[in-house]
């Protein structure tokens, strides 16, 4: 009996739509009819921050800069950091995991030790260390967060590779003369990539939140705005009481994006799980 195949569901497509909208907005931000994120829109006779109004939908910050525009521009950096971090994690961790799961032996032992060290090294300290020593450019932040993702991604990749490498279709592939590269690319990757894709969405969410954490320590990117930095700006106790809108914009954007990433990741994993357990 074939298990009834449910679709990915409305929630998944809603999440994906949100992610597409926010990505497009981030990419095309300079051409959108937005306020200038750097401009101080000071109104004579009133002290910023100004609350939400028809001119400033989400209000302005203490320097009278438009929160909505800054949030959209902040998405540029935050999404790039999230995407860059997880790409780094997937490429390095995934390669390490798949190779060690497939070849076992020495490859596996060395890779396992590397991952163990990465896992046991306190992530925050590592981030502080790197960002304190190197210039805090976009790439540095993304790679720093990416390094933290290498071990979890690598472990998942190794575990799922182990499961599939045991299966007879891999033995059969070897018997028909497939090279190791072909077995990895044609037989194993298509199976391993699904749980990895699900994890990468979750990982991207984690990286975006982690950037916020770094921002609080003053260790996020030097130049430009990120969601983390924007939230920090309005997160002083007095500001929160007086002008909650300053962080409300970036917080809700961060919340919705992370929620969408998590939800889509979960659904994706469940959806592809079903196929394996039929029969």
């Amino acid at each position: 009996m074939t298990a009834a195949r449910r679709g990915l569901g409305f929630g998944f497509w809603l999440s994906i739509s949100w992610l597409i909208v926010i990505s497009l907005a981030a990419i095309f931000a300079p051409w959108l009819p937005l306020k200038d994120p750097g401009e101080n829109y000071i109104v004579a006779g009133a002290r910023p921050p100004y609350g939400p109004s028809s001119t400033h939908w989400l209000g302005t910050d203490q320097d009278a800069r438009d929160v909505f525009a800054r949030t959209i521009f902040g998405a540029r950096t935050s999404l790039v950091i999230g995407f860059g971090a997880i790409s780094f994690g997937i490429i390095l961790g995934g390669t390490l995991g798949v190779l060690s799961g497939y070849f076992r032996g020495w490859t596996d032992r060395i890779a396992s030790i590397v991952m163990l060290i990465l896992l046991s090294f306190p992530g925050l300290i590592l981030a502080i260390l790197i960002t304190a020593l190197l210039d805090r450019g976009l790439a540095t932040i993304a790679i720093t967060l990416g390094i933290l993702g290498v071990a979890p991604v690598g472990r998942l990749a190794r575990a799922s590779t182990l499961v599939f490498a045991e299966r007879d279709f891999v033995t059969a592939a070897r018997a028909i003369g497939s090279s190791n590269r072909r077995i990895i690319v044609r037989e194993l990757l298509p199976n391993v990539v699904i749980p990895m894709a699900a994890l990468s969405l979750l990982g991207m969410a984690i990286a975006i939140v982690a950037e916020g954490g770094l921002a609080f320590l003053g260790l996020s990117v030097d130049e430009g705005v990120t969601w983390g930095k924007l939230i920090l700006l309005g997160a002083g106790t007095r500001d929160l009481e007086r002008a909650p809108w300053i962080s409300f914009g970036p917080i809700s954007m961060l919340f919705l994006t992370v929620l969408a990433l998590n939800y889509a990741g979960d659904r994706l994993r469940d959806y592809f799980d079903v196929k394996d357990i039929t029969l």
Binding site: M1, T2, A4, R5, R6
Partner: protein, 355 residues
């Protein structure tokens, strides 16, 4: 239907009586009729074999009787256990039956044991939960149970984990757990399929012994008629959700009526056949239970089917032996059957041989 019920004759009150049982699964593609109108009696201390190919509904039938079904399933009809109607009972009220009145042994002993729990704890757990035994009583009983299923060095096994045991020993442990609360009826779903032939007969003998000294009913579900031959009193053959033949074991083997049963029997390779003897495979697959064929459901795969078989569903009817019922218009032994058999032999499709 009335004919079928008439065929389930009186005699001692059965432990379980199943009447008109239907189990339906709602799926995306439609309603799957996994069990489609089954009548059965299960008697104390007797052993019933339920036989058929995968996808014929035998596993669903045994689980429907026990009430162990996923939430997408819907049961209709009646299952009476010692006078209690079980169809319609909630999971909560079924719990008092599971383990203590009815229990089940599954096909794969590795999956049915908890890998991180010691064998002793796994046997003791139901004793403490269901029977309220103290820790030490439960341990003593667990030891007795392991002895009862003839596991060598039972004391040592109590402290071991499932992965430290061989496949046969694991299945013995599963049986010990199933027996722990003294069930009146034991369902064994393909209990030996995952095991070596050498271990297979040991496990079947073990179940038979425990049945006799506990006066317990046993339902043996399998695809292999060879397995049930020596270990059951009665056999029900299922096809496409229905029982197509039911008879006392000796009677069935001596006097097969339904061509399906005969094909199942002949598809087993026999040791007394010469090497390279062509086996009688049944071509094709069991039908889709969402839209089963009209008429006799086996007709599309039956070499003896005639026009009537495709339009009119045969009822279960008794043979000279009233305990032996079958659902076929042209059963083994009928003139039409022989006529077709002659044609098949003449065209070389079949080899003339033992029945």
């Amino acid at each position: 239907m009335s004919q079928t019920q008439a065929s389930l004759r009186g005699g001692p009150e059965p432990l379980v009586s199943v009447r008109g049982l239907r189990t339906l699964f709602a799926t995306e593609r439609g309603l799957v009729r996994a069990v489609d109108g089954v009548d059965l009696n299960i008697h104390k201390g007797r052993s019933l074999g339920i036989v058929g190919e995968s996808g014929c509904g035998k596993t669903v039938l045994s689980r429907s009787i026990m009430g162990l079904l996923p939430s997408t399933a819907h049961r209709e009809g009646s299952v009476r256990y010692e006078g209690h109607e079980l169809v319609g009972k909630s999971v909560g009220s079924m719990r008092r039956f599971w383990g203590q009145e009815m229990s089940m042994v599954f096909q794969n002993p590795m999956v049915s044991l908890n890998p991180v729990m010691r064998i002793g704890e796994q046997i003791a757990e139901p004793l403490r939960i269901h029977l309220g035994m103290s820790r030490s009583d439960a341990r003593d009983t667990a030891l007795q149970l392991l002895e009862e299923v003839r596991i060598p060095e039972p004391k040592r096994r109590l402290r071991q984990y499932a992965h430290e045991l061989s496949g046969g020993m694991r299945q013995r442990v599963v049986i010990a757990i199933a027996l722990s609360c003294g069930p009146a009826i034991l369902f064994a779903d393909e209990p030996t399929t995952a095991l070596d032939v050498t271990v297979q007969s040991q496990i079947l003998d073990l179940i038979a012994e425990r049945r006799q000294d506990r006066n317990m009913a046993v339902v043996l579900v399998t695809h292999d008629l060879g397995v049930v031959a020596g270990h059951t009193n009665e056999i029900a053959v299922m096809y496409a959700g229905k029982i197509v033949e039911r008879a006392p074991t000796n009677e069935l083997f001596a006097n097969v009526k339904m061509p399906y049963t005969r094909s199942l029997l002949r598809s087993i390779p026999r040791l007394d056949d010469d090497p390279h003897t062509r086996l009688h495979a049944i071509s094709g697959r069991p039908p889709d239970l969402i839209d089963p064929p009209s008429g006799c459901r086996f007709a599309p795969r039956c070499a003896y089917a005639r026009e009537r078989c495709h339009v009119e569903a045969p009822p279960l009817q008794p043979t000279e032996n009233p305990d032996h019922v079958y659902a076929c218009w042209y059963p083994v032994g009928s003139a039409e059957f022989f006529e077709r058999e002659e044609e098949l032999v003449a065209t070389g499709v079949h080899v003339r041989g033992r029945q």
